[in-house]
């Protein structure tokens, strides 16, 4: 185990914290797992291209169950308006405003644990924590307390809910753990917009696990926009479980962050479920963004589409791993993957690995991955119409990423995000 792992393992509280017995057991299992395996290393296949150098700070403190972190609030202006705003600061819920539509319940995790929401125990206990690459999950479970539970009642369209994640520098760098649980009952709908921003100079690490349970015919639109500071570390895991005919759509935008790792996983457990995962990542400076997306088709007639676009400039490093697994019996599955990257600089790097694992024969699966440059003919075409070379390149690079934001149903949000991307678009050397 690394020094940091040992340090964090030591910092884990010996007391299993407040709450019902099963929560304590769960925390203990997380702590035991972490004490055995620690944080993942580059020897773990899933972390082959991502080291934890940026996180390796001697004075790093672990935000524990009982501790309060900082006071006050700092809420960056939301990208768009939402029905409900939930404000998070350094991983803790600080407030909530807006009008709650009927059928939508938003609780802090601590409250939900003590009052007991049906299905919460099952959901929390269902999170797989298999091997040494799941160290962050173990840490998150070991300190389970801070977080938010969102529940949308059957047949309700809850509209848009914004979670405004903010990180602010603390005297010593802080590693905070937060859990989000989302329940969509039958025919329910929700648009979950997560916005991550942090103050300059923030070096904190946020370790967030989101678990979503999508009942039959429900629909979750999940938009994740992050523009963290260049030193911030953001480790997130999204675990979605989909019942029959449910729909999960993910749109991720990585514009910032020093070290960003997102494990996005959806399991299509009921027949006819659909899953569309898309994302854009923009790299410059020394930033490192690692996205791992995986779809498990476990029932027939599923559909999944993964569409990711990346641009790497400066000394940025983009890691992308996409996997589709079609399990036995998941016949008539259609699975598509597409990943394209533009490498702009001699110091930048792109590592991509599009995987397919197929165990059923009535399947249509395809993937494509490219790493390359802008189409020079297109650059010439634009120049021949009077655009300068840099203008032409900027326009084409933005268009390349815009193909992701254009998938958003709300044109206003699409425009705002596309503008934000254009503002930080990395330039060629």
């Amino acid at each position: 185990m690394s020094e940091l792992s040992t340090q964090l393992a030591t910092a884990l509280p010996l007391d299993a914290g407040p709450g019902p017995e099963w929560v304590k057991t769960l925390r203990d299992s997380g702590a035991a797992h972490f004490r055995t395996h620690g944080l993942p290393t580059r020897k773990d296949e899933a972390w082959k291209y991502t080291g934890l150098g940026l996180l390796d700070q001697a004075e790093m403190q672990l935000a524990t169950v009982t501790e309060t972190r900082v006071s006050g609030s700092l809420n960056p202006s939301p990208l768009v308006e939402a029905n409900v705003h939930v404000n998070m600061l350094n991983g803790l819920k600080t407030g909530q405003n807006g009008t709650m539509p009927t059928g939508l319940t938003v609780l802090s995790l601590a409250d939900a644990l003590s009052t007991g929401i049906s299905g919460l125990q099952t959901l929390l206990e269902s999170l797989p924590m298999d091997n040494s690459s799941d160290g962050f999950t173990a840490l998150n479970t070991a300190t389970l307390e801070s977080g938010v539970v969102i529940h949308v009642a059957a047949g309700t369209d809850a509209g848009r809910l914004l979670i405004n994640w903010t990180s602010e520098a603390t005297p010593a760098p802080l590693l905070s753990n937060t859990r989000l649980c989302v329940f969509l009952e039958q025919d329910a709908k929700l648009e979950l917009l997560e916005q991550f921003e942090s103050s300059n100079g923030n070096t904190n690490t946020c370790n967030i696990v989101l678990q979503a349970n999508l009942a039959t015919n429900s629909s979750l639109q999940h938009i994740r926009f992050q523009q963290e500071s260049k030193q911030a570390v953001l480790i997130t895991r999204t675990e979605v479980s989909q019942q029959a005919d449910s729909e999960y759509a993910y749109y991720g935008f990585d514009l910032g962050g020093g070290l960003v790792r997102h494990d996005l996983h959806t399991a299509l457990r009921g027949s006819g479920a659909r899953s569309c995962l898309s994302g854009a990542y923009l790299l410059d400076g020394n930033r490192h963004v690692d996205n791992h997306a995986r779809v498990d088709h476990m029932a027939p007639n599923g559909f999944s589409d993964q569409y990711f676009r990346g641009v790497a400039g400066g000394a940025g490093k983009a890691v992308f791993n996409t996997a589709v697994c079609v399990h036995p019996g998941a016949d008539e599955t259609e699975a598509r993957q597409s990943n394209a990257n533009i490498l702009l600089s001699t110091r930048a790097e792109v590592d991509t690995k599009p995987e397919l694992e197929i165990y059923a024969d009535e399947v249509i699966a395809s993937h494509g991955a490219t790493v390359g440059q802008l189409d020079e003919l297109a650059v010439f075409y634009l120049r021949s119409r009077g655009l300068s070379e840099s203008q032409a390149r900027q326009l084409l690079t933005t268009a390349f990423c815009r193909s992701v934001s254009d998938k958003l149903a709300d044109p206003v949000l699409a425009e705002v995000i596309s503008q934000r991307m254009m503002d930080v678009m990395p330039q060629a050397d």
Partner: protein
């Protein structure tokens, strides 16, 4: 294994004190691997001292290594001490005395492959008269090759006759400690082929080890080394077309290719080791390290493989594209039926400027077969304008098999371009029905469709191999449908 390094070190230090403890007269060394066994192999082959030392060094590395487990393979633990590392050709009295003594299933396969009668006997290991035994590619055409300056001989002969060449190039592409199986091979390899094509020479014929490895029956740890000097051309064929009956035989070969400026090496393999029976019993464990070094500018190495045999295949013929404008190619058909498992693919390491590589991989899974493509394309910072194109298609026949794709793409040069495409499909019911409706049997229809699926790779094979590969696929797919 790694615990006793100091003891091992001291053993190596003492190597000249003990001499050879094993009776070198015996045909087969007892099972087990030790320094003594390696000394015995080396002595038996009358090897120079440097080669013995080289083997022992590899052995030391191997002792400190662990069998890799990253492949998508389910392998029963291998007891390396239960394997016999040297086995001379069996004497005539141990062999089947006539075709009547040979497994009829095997003969049926030969029949389908169209192997001539007298060769069936040879392939089945029947003791046949000396005339046939002496018909080896190596000897028949030796004179003609000699005229051209080409050296083509067994590895053992090369060690005796061209030690300076062997010493210079052995391990220069696949170092002893490259991986677990390569280290094992380096310690215990028994024989193999050696090819040297001098500057500017276009090898006048295709070189083949089609029969030789089978006749020797010692193919578990062969070692092949091909050196193509500036401007030379060679096409080398390797056939393991004889299904072997041995159960769970371990096979760990190493192939090294070196291509200098403007040299061109084409390496084709048709692998059909015994795959085990319908229930997954027996079969060869095939762990092969094949690597080509495009050392010179504008050099080209092309791998073509048709893999239909073995219970387990672990094989990644690779190219290191060091020379500017060098070209690497990989064309592969891998078929797994019954309980066969294959994890195969390639690595293309682009180092030189304007290097190009192309990967065409076709995987077919039937029965309970598991077939994985694993590939790496790496563009290093120096690889200006390097290009790769990869196409990776899988076909599934039946519901119990699996087809997997694990491509690693690493790019560190902004002028490099990598394109990867993959598809997974099955034989369409409409395609099948169309054929059936026209009066074609289901089995023929399937083999027709599979043949079409593999066409891109088959056209890279020399003519007679292509025909054979096609026949082989048909045989291997038997029982996969219906």
């Amino acid at each position: 294994m790694s615990g006793e390094t100091s003891t091992i070190d001291s053993l190596i230090e003492q190597k000249y004190q003990h001499g050879f403890v094993t009776d070198i007269e015996s045909d087969t060394l007892p099972p087990g691997l030790s320094e003594d066994v390696i000394r015995a192999i080396s002595a038996r082959k009358k090897e120079p001292e440097w080669l013995l030392e080289w083997r022992l060094k590899a052995y030391t590395h191997w002792l400190g290594m662990q069998q890799p487990d990253w492949a998508h393979l389910n392998i029963d633990a291998i007891d390396f001490q239960a394997v016999s590392y040297f086995s001379a050709p069996k004497s005539d009295k141990d062999r089947p005395q006539s075709l009547d003594d040979v497994d009829p299933k095997l003969l049926e396969t030969y029949d389908k492959l169209g192997v001539p009668l007298h060769e069936r006997a040879r392939l089945a290991g029947v003791a046949v008269d000396a005339v046939f035994d002496s018909v080896s590619v190596g000897t028949t055409f030796k004179a003609e090759l000699k005229k051209a300056g080409v050296i083509f001989c067994s590895f053992s002969e090369a060690v005796q006759d061209h030690p300076e060449l062997v010493q210079k190039y052995l391990g220069s592409v696949v170092p002893q400690r490259d991986n677990f199986f390569a280290a094992l091979n380096s310690a215990v390899f028994t024989d193999g082929s050696f090819v040297f094509i001098p500057k500017g020479v276009r090898c006048p014929m295709e070189l083949s080890t089609y029969f030789r490895i089978n006749a020797a029956e010692t193919g578990q740890f062969e070692r092949t080394l091909i050196i193509a000097e500036e401007g030379s051309h060679v096409s080398y064929l390797e056939g393991c077309t004889a299904p072997m009956r041995d159960e769970n035989q371990l096979h760990a070969a190493v192939v090294e290719l070196v291509a200098f400026d403007d040299a061109n090496i084409k390496y084709s393999t048709v692998q059909n080791w015994y795959p085990g029976d319908e229930n997954g019993l027996g079969g060869i464990y095939n762990f092969v390290t094949k690597r080509g070094d495009c050392r010179g500018a504008r050099s080209r190495i092309s791998w073509t493989q048709v893999e239909t045999g073995s219970a387990i295949t672990w094989k990644y013929p690779s190219c290191i594209l060091r020379g500017d404008e060098s070209v690497g190619e990989f064309y592969s058909v891998a078929l797994t039926n019954n309980y066969q498992q294959a994890d195969t693919g390639t690595k293309m390491i682009h180092i030189g400027r304007n290097t190009r590589s192309k990967i065409i991989s076709k995987g077919i899974s039937a029965g309970h077969g598991q077939n994985a493509y694993r590939g790496l394309v790496r563009m290093t910072p120096r690889a200006e304008n390097a290009r790769n194109y990869t196409q990776c298609d899988s076909m599934l026949i039946g519901k119990k098999c699996g087809a997997h794709t694990f491509p690693y793409i690493e790019v560190r040069n902004p002028s490099a371009k990598v394109e990867h495409e993959a598809t997974t499909s099955r034989i369409g019911e409409d395609q099948l029905f169309y054929c059936l409706q026209r009066g074609i049997s289901e089995e023929d229809a399937v083999s027709m469709i599979v043949d079409g699926f593999c066409k891109q790779v088959f056209k890279e094979l020399p003519m007679e191999f292509a025909v054979e590969a096609k026949a082989l696929l048909e045989v291997s797919l038997e029982g996969a449908v219906g």
